[in-house]
Amino acid sequence: MTGTGAPAIRHAVRMTPRLALSDTAGVAKRNLLRIWRTPQMLIISAIQPALLLVLFRYVLGGAIEVPGGKYVDYVVPAVFLEAVLIGGMTTSIGLAQDLKSGIIDRFRSLPMARSAVLAGRTLADLSRSITSLAIMVGLGLAVGFRFNNNLVAIAAGLALVVVFGYAFSWLYAAIGLATKDPETAQVAGILPFFVLMFASNAIVPVSDMPGWLQGFARNQPLSVTVSAVRALMEGGPVAHWAWQSLAWSASILLVFFALALHIYRTSAS
């Protein structure tokens, strides 16, 4: 050998929160390096919400009436949420790719914390979502969107968007692990996106929808978050929607964190 002495039989170090954090930071570093080295992916994941923004603003915008305000101020906060949801889809595709390439096998044979591969991945992907969100803010302002509230409220609104996106990235992590294939993961990931986006108050007011749809469309996680974010950015009563949004995000995070971890632990066994 290279002068390192006899090979080692080790007792596992007891997994502590500090070690789990260090493992997670290692995975996050790995994924951030990957994101940094494929900037084209960053652009591609920003193009979709940008196209939707232009579509809603200029193609549909003229035909949709919203109560008490301009349509651009109505729809742009929803585009912010689209941006982080689309960012979350990269989590499912990335995890499916890692499963396919065999790198997850290596991870699973290492004494690292079981949650680190998933937590590191979602945290690194969050940086992509935040970048995408920043681009949408700039683009929104360029097409006539205006904030009509104080800075603290605006920051709180953006934070709510980020929290919502992070919670959903765990749903996407579960999809990626369950499908095990990047293409399937991509197709499967679009489903929740479409349901949440179109059966909601994101693009058109719920009051224009048939009665049977209104209950779902008014109370589903994306709608309450859009309502809260609109109120924080444009003014209006906030608390009711903000609490509901946080409750949804927390529940989605917990449920899909547990589910994704379960699939990760038991996959292929």
Binding site: I9, L19, L110
Partner: protein, 330 residues
């Protein structure tokens, strides 16, 4: 006193209705190489996945480095290294980043894994490429990096799942030398391979599995002795003569020969020695069958394998060898 570093007793695994392993027993002593041979689909990789905690066995017990694969999975993972047949390295990271991150995940201290990464890069002749992205590495370089990654923590037990499949002869030889060094320093290695030459060179003990069962075990020599005697081999010049030549050899009373139409050879396990060789030569002459070669040789492990499993270890193992390694693009 060296003890058993790998102990497998009655391990079974099924996927749905397919039985991948049907009660496998084996063991490997410290500082030895256990060669696991078997045709594709025999269950080699399933066994490696069980021993590296990637799969749970349905039946039996298995211990690696003294740790149970189910109950002590955490400690077990700290004591093993795994290099798979698919180089599991990250393309968008540099060679050094790949190794250092693995060290972090083994919970080595930063100074330790940095030093270790540097040493391994040097040992595997990757120092010049250390800070380039793996994306630009050749197949051989990736494989070397993959094996290096499995050694970052200097593990007591190393699992090499077909480590040299698809490598050019020179890189393969380098890897063999390195594995020998590792074993000399006390590492226990479980090696799966399709190359008889590899098993013969590296493995102290060989276990042959087929359809999830152990069908033979022993040293390479012991396995060959089982064949008894030698192999008479004839290479016919004209492929049209193959059938007649087979009939002729069968008539020698030593059993039926095995034909390899691609190479136009026939081989016959025999205890007959040179007198049989001369008799065969005379009859070929009488029948006017032109030969390119006729001789008697010791059985190779390939012959053993063929006799045991009824199939070559890998029908296209030879054609899989790449002619030349693809060199790094940058």
């Amino acid at each position: 006193m060296p003890g058993s570093m790998i102990e497998v007793e009655g391990v079974g695994k099924r996927f749905g209705s397919t039985v991948a392993l049907a009660g496998v027993d084996l063991s490997a002593e410290q500082g030895k190489v256990l060669g696991l041979l078997g045709p594709n689909g025999a269950g080699k990789t399933t066994l490696v996945r069980i021993l590296t905690t990637l799969l749970k066995p349905d039946a039996g017990t298995a211990r690696v480095a003294g740790y149970d694969v189910v109950a002590d999975a955490g400690s077990l993972r700290s004591s093993i290294g795994l290099a798979g047949q698919y180089a599991a390295v990250d393309e968008l990271l540099t060679g050094r980043e790949n190794l250092e991150l693995v060290g972090l995940w083994y919970h080595l201290r930063r100074v330790e894994y940095r030093r270790r990464a540097g040493e391994l890069l040097e040992r595997f002749a990757l120092t010049d490429a250390a800070d380039r992205l793996v994306k630009g590495y050749s197949g051989g370089m990736r494989r070397r990096l993959d094996v290096a990654a499995s050694l970052v923590a200097n593990p007591g037990v190393l699992f090499l799942d077909e480590p040299t499949t698809g490598l050019d002869p020179r890189t393969r030889n380098d890897l063999w030398l390195f594995i020998e060094e590792l074993v000399a320093s006390g590492t226990t290695v479980l090696l799966t391979t399709q190359y008889m030459e590899e098993a013969e060179r590296l493995a102290n003990q060989i276990v042959v599995i087929d359809a999830g069962k152990v069908i033979a075990r022993g040293t390479a020599l012991e396995l060959k002795d089982r064949m008894g005697g030698a192999v008479l081999e004839a290479r016919v010049r004209d492929p049209k003569d193959m059938a007649r030549a087979a009939e002729l050899l069968g008539a020698l009373g030593e059993g039926q020969p095995r034909a390899n139409p691609d190479q136009q050879t026939l081989s016959l396990a025999t205890k007959g020695g040179t007198s049989l060789l001369i008799e065969a030569g005379r009859r070929f002459e009488q029948e006017c069958i032109t030969l390119d070669d006729l001789g008697i040789r010791r059985p190779s492990l390939d012959d053993v394998f063929l006799a045991l499993t009824g199939a070559p270890p890998n029908d296209h193992a030879i054609s899989q060898l790449p002619a030349e390694p693809v060199e790094a693009q940058r």
